[in-house]
Subunit: 356 residues, 2 copies
Amino acid sequence: MPMNDLFLRAARLEPTERTPIWMMRQAGRYMAEYRAIREKHGFLEMCRTPELAVEVTLQPVDLIGVDAAILFSDILVVFDGMGLDLEFAKGEGPVIHNPVRTVADVERLTVSDPLEHTGYVMEAIRILRRELENKVPLIGFAGAPFTLASYAIEGHGTRDYEKCKALMWTEPAAWDLLMTKFADTVIAYLCAQIDAGAQAVQLFDSWVGYVAPRDYERFVLPHSKRVLAEVKAHGDKVVEGGVPVIHFANGATSMIDLVQQAGGDIVGVDWRLDMRKAVELIDPRFGIQGNIDPVALFGPDDEIERQVIEILEAVGTRPGHIFNLGHGIHKTTDPEKARTLVRLVHEHSSRIRAEA
Amino acid sequence: MPMNDLFLRAARLEPTERTPIWMMRQAGRYMAEYRAIREKHGFLEMCRTPELAVEVTLQPVDLIGVDAAILFSDILVVFDGMGLDLEFAKGEGPVIHNPVRTVADVERLTVSDPLEHTGYVMEAIRILRRELENKVPLIGFAGAPFTLASYAIEGHGTRDYEKCKALMWTEPAAWDLLMTKFADTVIAYLCAQIDAGAQAVQLFDSWVGYVAPRDYERFVLPHSKRVLAEVKAHGDKVVEGGVPVIHFANGATSMIDLVQQAGGDIVGVDWRLDMRKAVELIDPRFGIQGNIDPVALFGPDDEIERQVIEILEAVGTRPGHIFNLGHGIHKTTDPEKARTLVRLVHEHSSRIRAEA
C-alpha cells in the first residue's frame, strides 16, 4: 500500500480521515513545468516516450499536492494498433486520416495488442511505480468505446456527431462490431495497465453527453458495461483487494441512472449536477468522484472555499468520495489556485470528519 | 386567431387534434432558399433589413410545413443599443470589439430602446403578420440575460466562460447590475415584439448549461424569472388570452427543477433528457417543448419515425406538448428530412389522439 493511500481507501468505500483529491488533466498545459517539456516535444511523442510521460505525470504530485498521480497519455494512443492513422495537427487537435465510414472500414479494424502497440504506456507505468515509491497511488486510464468510436468515425473532434450517429442508426450491426472492437481493445489495454502496476483505472467517456438516453441505453451502455466488468474482474484476480474502476461519462448527468448501470466502483460526476442530487441519484454501492466547476479556479479563494464546503457538506458522511474537478483543468488556470483547491479540500474535509 | 392555431392552443394547454411542431433555426443554412439570400447579404444585414428577415422567416412555413413561424434574427442584435460593438466576422461567429471586463464597463452599458435601436425587428414582425395572413402563428424571441452577458463579457462564443464566471464571483454587485441591464433590455425588447404582433415569444438561454446549479440559482434564475414574469404580464395586458412564453435553457436538463422555477408557460427541453423523465420532472402547469435529437435527421426515415413515436408516447395525453428539435437544426441537414419529421409528428400524433 502507498504511504498516502487515502485515494485507494476512499475508492474502496473505506473510511478516510480526509477526502482525497486529484484533478483531471492535472499533468497539463497550466503548469510551466509541463510547457517547458511540451515546447521541445510533440504531443504524441510525449505520450510515446516513457521518460517524458513519467516526468510530466510526476510534476503535479509534488507541485500541486494531489493524492493520486494519473498517467500522462492520450485516450487515442490505442488507435496505433487498430489501423487508424492518428496525427495531432498543430493547433487542431487529433486528426484521423483514414476515418471509419463504411461497414468495410469497420471490418478492417484490428483489436490493438497493448504490449505490442502501446508497450510504451506499460513501460511508463512500471517506471512511475518505481519513482513514486508508493508516495501516492497511480491511476491508469482509457477512453470508453463510444468516445473512441466517435473520433474514429468523425475523423476529428466535433460537437455534431452526425456521421457517428448516422452509422449507429443505419448500420447497427456494424456499429456493434465497431464498439466490440473498441471494447476488446480497451479491456486488453486497461488489464495490461493493471498488470504493469496501475493501482486504479478510469474509463473516460468524454463525449457521450451528446448522445440521447435512448441511444445510450441501446448503443453504448452494453459495451461500457462489458469493459467495466471485465476490467474489474481482472483487477480482482491479480490484485489483493481488487483495483478500483472509475467511470466518468462527461455531460451525461441527465442520464446518471443509466450511466451507473454500466457498473464500475466509482461514478464520476461533472459540475452540471448538484452534488446533493448526485448523492440521492447514485446508488450507495458506488463511490462518487467530483465535481467542482473547473472554472471555480478562476474565482477568488473565498469563492473556491464556499464551493468546496458545499460539495463536502452535500456528500456528508457517505463513504467513497473522491474530490475532483467536474471536467479537466483549464489550460490557463493559475497553478496556485490548484494548490489552494487541494489545501481547502484537505482542511475542510478533515474538519467535517472531526466534527461528525 | 390564425387558421392553423395548433401551436397557440397547445401553448395554452388546450386540447389539440395533433401535436404542433416547429424547429429551432428552421429559417437557416440547411435550406438552399436561405443560402441563396445569404450569399448576397451579410448576416447582420439580413437581421437588420426587414424585407430580408421576412423572406427567410417565411421560407420554412410552406417548404417544410411547420406549425409556427419564428422570426429570423439573432439574439445579439440588442447589443446595438447598449454600446456593445458587435460584428459577425466571416467564419468566426460573433465578435464584440469592446467586451465588458470591469465594473466601469458594466456601468457604461445602456439599456437598449427597442423602437429606437431594433425597430427593424418590429417592422419585420409587422410585415410578417400581414404576409402570414394568419396561416400559422409568429414566434418572437430574445436571448436570456445570462447568454447575452456571457457574449458581452467573453467577447465571442466560448466553451469556457472563465471571464464571465470570474466577474460573477468576484464582482457580484456589478454582475447583478449587468444582468439587470440585460433583463431590462430583453423585457422591453420582447414587449415591443408582442406590441408589433408576435403571438408567442421564446427566451433562449443557449449557454446556461455551462453554469453549475448553485450559480444558476444565485446569479441567473432571479433575472430570467423577472424577464419571464414581466413579459407574460405584458402579454396578458395587451392580448386577449395572453401571449405564450417559452423558456429554453439549453444543456440545463440536470437542473430542470431550477429552470422551471424561472416561470413562463412552456419549458423547452434538449435531447439529453428522456421525455419520460421530462414529463415526470416538469410541473403539469407547464407545457413542454422538444426534444428529438437534431442529429436524428441524419438517420434513416424509420429511425426518425421510431424516435418521434417514443417522444409522443412518452408525452401521452398530457396537454401542452409542442414538438421541436432538442436544439437548432444542423446546417447540413437535408430539408427533405425536416419535411419527413413534420409529416411523422403530424401522422403519429393524430393517430395517438384518435386511439386514446
